[in-house]
Amino acid sequence: MNNRNEHSVSLNVNGRHYQLDIQPWVSLLDVLREHLHFTGTKKGCDHGQCGACTVLVNGKRILSCLTLGVMKDGAQITTIEGISNGENLHPVQKAFIEHDAFQCGYCTPGQICSAVGMLGENKAQTREEVQELMSGNLCRCGANKGIIDAVMAVKEGGYNE
């Protein structure tokens, strides 16, 4: 800890290594947006109630607003900027475009990271189960039907890398 109360933290974000000095009260969300300028991850509520800040930490979807940067020392983090393979969109991204899964787009980075996390968990098979396990991402534009359609289309194998 230095005299500005900063702790040295190492993070791997979207495959790149970063060494930073951060104050202990800074949320992972603010580390990503304000320190590293990955502004794709959105701050909706900052209180765990909307899912806009969803990112993958060591492959698992979590809310970056409710954890601290210093608690993720050494972690592998994937934000929306790291979901595609270069110019090659991830199947979930392609499906979102084709199924009209967004309107304003504010919730979309969180929805996509959440959907990618959910597919990895492999706990949702039916449409109802997908709806239930995607309920942690609110969409104020009401694009939910398109979002669930897109996720189901990926599950049914309609999209490949």
Partner: protein, 328 residues
């Protein structure tokens, strides 16, 4: 004793953080203050689920809610617990939230969260804004003139029904508390949620062998069908032989300052037929003495109906599927 306890240094201004889903939120609202946060995630001993010699199972305090709900032992032998955990919060939050933190989450009373209003739980002696305020989500059982808040956990409703035991480590050594004695009613000290003393740490939660995996059900009623706290929830576990109830456990969530069980109701059901009439009598016993306020009196009737419906669903757990028809 884990180093984390030493790091707290007996100073109440220092706090522990596990998943962070509750404490980090409370810190942002200035409801909780901390000079120092001690991250307990490095304590590897608290991060597993394993079988105990007595046939039960230990849930590590730092195991996440998601990993607990999807653990093969829990899914197979304690499906009531899986169901209750999965009824809570969202997938992202369950990936972060830990079992120990779940027991220690604080109420969702709106006034507790609003630092501009009086609240005996947040600021002892300042008064209770909810009693004469908007109290739709508040308690109908066990509350006091000082506080009518409810404890919001789903997981803990199932743990109460399963007779879990909380393992505690602290400066004075290790001890255990039966689940029924872990949380408390508010009385005139609503700022104290439970019987863990400052400086102590939960190491794990033990569940006895009996998992009621054949006849169980968790029902959660709320204002939207997912990602919302319970208005009323019910965990039912039944042991049925030859169409006779040998043992019944019924725990309620969303109605009191702790998961609510009434042993007289469970005793009444012993050696009885599992019928709608008997479940209705048990529901009446559980809600005896319940008291509603301006906006939450509906919970009394809602809780009775939820108990009856959930006991019927427990007779055939398949009927818990969305859209399934009740078996009675």
């Amino acid at each position: 004793m884990p180093d984390a306890i030493t790091e707290l240094n007996g100073d109440i201004r220092n706090k522990l953080v596990a998943g962070g889903t509750n404490i980090n939120d409370l810190l942002k609202y200035f409801i909780t203050k901390a000079d120092k946060l001690v991250d307990i995630n490095p304590i590897k001993d608290f991060n597993s689920i394993f079988r105990l010699e007595n046939g039960g199972v230990r849930l590590g305090a730092l195991h996440t809610n998601a990993d607990t709900a999807y653990d093969p032992i829990i899914e197979e032998c304690y499906p009531l617990l899986s169901k209750a955990i999965l009824a809570g919060a969202s997938a992202q939050i369950r990936n972060m939230a830990t079992n120990g933190g779940n027991l220690l989450q604080r109420t969702r009373c709106y006034y507790f969260y609003d630092i501009n209003t009086p609240c005996n739980k947040r600021d002892p002696g300042s008064g209770c804004s909810a009693i004469n305020g908007y109290n739709r989500i508040h308690a109908i059982l066990g509350q006091s003139e000082s506080c009518i808040a409810v404890f919001p956990s789903d997981m803990c409703v199932a743990l109460a029904a399963l007779d879990a035991v909380v393992n505690i480590d602290g400066p004075e050594g290790e001890r255990t508390l039966p689940f029924a004695d872990f949380h408390r009613i508010p009385g005139d000290t609503p700022h104290i949620d439970n019987n863990l003393t400052y400086g102590e740490i939960i190491s794990g939660i033990d569940i006895p062998k009996k998992g009621f995996e054949k006849n169980y059900s968790y029902l959660k009623l709320r204002d939207r069908s997912s990602y919302s706290f319970a208005l009323v929830s019910v965990a039912t576990a039944l042991d049925i032989e030859d169409s006779t109830i040998k043992e019944a456990r019924i725990a309620l969530g969303g109605v009191a300052h702790k998961p609510w069980r009434v042993i007289e109701a469970e005793d009444f059901l012993k050696e009885k037929q599992p019928s709608r009439e008997n479940f209705a009598i048990a529901a009446d016993i559980i809600l005896e003495g319940a008291k509603g306020y301006k906006h939450n009196s509906f919970k009394i009737e809602l809780a009775k109906r939820a108990i009856i419906r959930n006991c019927i669903m427990a007779l055939n757990p398949e009927t818990q599927r969305p859209g399934a028809k009740p078996s009675l």
